[in-house]
Symmetry: C2
Subunit: 346 residues, 2 copies
């Protein structure tokens, strides 16, 4: 077995972006290989996650996650291999997932907050995707916040993304009519053929988005799963039924506004009153008590072949800024993942 | 006793407004005195209500209440006297409140949906105000939608209005810190001295609204009772605490947009996600099961001297369009009421 390297790489936040982040806002640094102490493990990152919410942490602004510090390594979810354990929570050779190893090749941890990964249920990247935070976001967002009833119509924006694709499939499992929007014909095709939605709209080519969505929602929209904001939210508000629910998971079209020039909100927000809509924001980490239900249900659906997923994998830690920036251009098809190292070292 | 007149007057919708309604959108017509049949009553309107939601009914657009018909009398809540009963639900001489007698001097009804009024508990106009629909709107909107807990901070826009003033007082009774905004120093004075709020902001003279509200909400806002939209909503979103609730009762600043030039929505609506806010629209008529609780609680608070209210009374049916239009300029201080006739005919 190859000996471990003496130095390892990490990606640091170099400058705080104004508006859309640039590659120059990141820098790669080489640091000494970390050494685990008693009760700790050395963990090698295999895959790391880049997610839209990280944009918020790049700004020096209080949000639900603390800002990344300038000149320090960024963080995010990872799945990795325990290379050495000095009495940490997991044994050498185990795969684990959680925070701490994002944007880094190696790190040291005691294992608190990490989850053991079962590579027989699903390949490693799935544990930061459909079986990880994006999957659980879809699960609690749709079921606990959106609360769809069988026969209702669910509209999902960014429907082929890591969260949206699972939202679509859970909504189908729960007996809903499901309409998704995505940014390419290929993504729409996947939604129809693999995810099993009732209709898919390519928002980039459909012309009038509201008219295109309306055509596929003859009974209106009961639950809108909001990932996008902007024109999608305007269309959804107009098409929502009385007592409809908007599960506000994210508004990716707005994330780069905050530090730049803010875009106006939906001019038809007043419809919330007359239609008695409930728009509710949520953050998956508030719903930790649901992790057992989530793993049981989604694990079961995966075993039963009822849930499919897609990943876009960028290879190499040095491509992680590129992967992250690609999220805002829709370059990902499904979960955006960076492969930091091989599944097993040769 | 004076004999009843042969003809009576009603206010009709003459044209559908584009943007802000004009006096010329209304016309007064004279019609024969209606005659009650078996099982019916003749009811004389004493006071009628004008309310912001009526703006929606002037447009030919599906909403929670059907549009007013062109060339026909408008309707709204009234309180009136039963002049004659041919076996209707109430006896001659009783006072009743409900729909059917708004914008009219007399009408005929069987009494279904009408409520008997107790003039000993509160004067007649209160039955279309603090003890009527606006009062019940405040009650269910604050308690069932906003769900304030003791010690939380409640921010109320249009706080001296028919709904807002009761919201402020119920929130105080429930042990909250209460900050209200209103459009004159006189209204703010009343909020402080009579309604007992902790702070009042004159939004017309305070300069930076958000800064002015923030100064009085050192612990942020937990519940925003939304009557206004626009700049108030932007400020509230910025000041809301995690897991805050926005009870969306109305957005009066937007009601005249819909048929005119729509104004943009709040640019910071994305905060709903990170702060896990719940913004929920509601319509009082969905909450009819709460009327017993409302009458018991608010009636009790009135008897105990814990609830005050203000009315602005315009005298004469012909002034009803003027009273209605005044709502959008903040001409009302408390409930806007039109006195259509005397309490008892001479």
């Amino acid at each position: 077995m190859t000996p471990l390297p003496k130095t390892v790489r990490e990606v640091r936040l170099k400058s705080r972006p104004q508006g859309m982040p640039q590659a120059t806002d990141f820098e790669i640094a080489e640091v000494p290989m970390p050494v685990p102490g008693d009760g700790q493990m050395l963990i090698r990152t295999v895959h790391m996650s880049v997610d839209p919410y990280m944009r918020g942490r790049m700004s020096d602004r209080k949000s639900y996650a603390p800002p990344f510090e300038l000149g320090k390594a960024m963080d995010g979810r990872f799945v990795g291999e325990v290379m050495e354990s000095k009495g940490g929570r997991f044994e050498k050779g185990a795969y684990v997932a959680g925070f701490g190893g994002g944007w880094k090749e190696y790190h040291v941890a005691d294992g608190k907050g990490l989850l053991q990964v079962d590579p027989d249920l699903a390949p490693l990247p799935a544990w930061i995707g459909v079986l990880g935070m994006p999957g659980m976001t879809a699960y609690v967002g749709l079921l606990d916040i959106g609360q769809p009833k069988p026969g209702e119509t669910v509209f999902v924006s960014a429907a082929s993304g890591a969260v949206g694709a699972l939202v679509c499939q859970i909504a189908k499992i729960k007996g809903c009519r499901v309409v998704g929007s995505a940014g390419s014909d290929e993504k729409c095709r996947w939604l129809l053929d693999e995810a099993g939605v009732d209709a898919a709209v390519n928002y980039k080519t459909c012309g009038d988005l509201e008219a295109a969505v309306a055509q596929h929602c003859p009974d209106g929209i009961d639950v809108y799963f909001e990932n996008v904001g902007g024109e999608h939210l305007v269309a959804a508000l107009n098409l929502m039924n009385m007592h409809g629910r908007i599960a506000a998971c994210g508004m990716i079209s707005r994330y780069n506004d905050a530090d730049g020039k803010p875009q106006p909100g939906p001019h038809n927000l007043f419809l919330v009153v007359g239609k008695r809509l409930r728009m509710q924001g949520f953050i998956v980490s508030d719903h930790a008590e649901r992790i057992g239900d989530f793993q049981r249900d989604v694990g079961g659906w995966i075993r039963a072949g009822k849930v499919k997923w897609k990943e876009t994998v960028y290879d190499g830690l040095d491509r992680s800024p590129e992967a992250f920036l690609g999220l805002f251009k829709g370059d990902n098809f499904g979960k955006m993942v960076v492969r930091v190292g091989p599944e097993r070292l040769g």
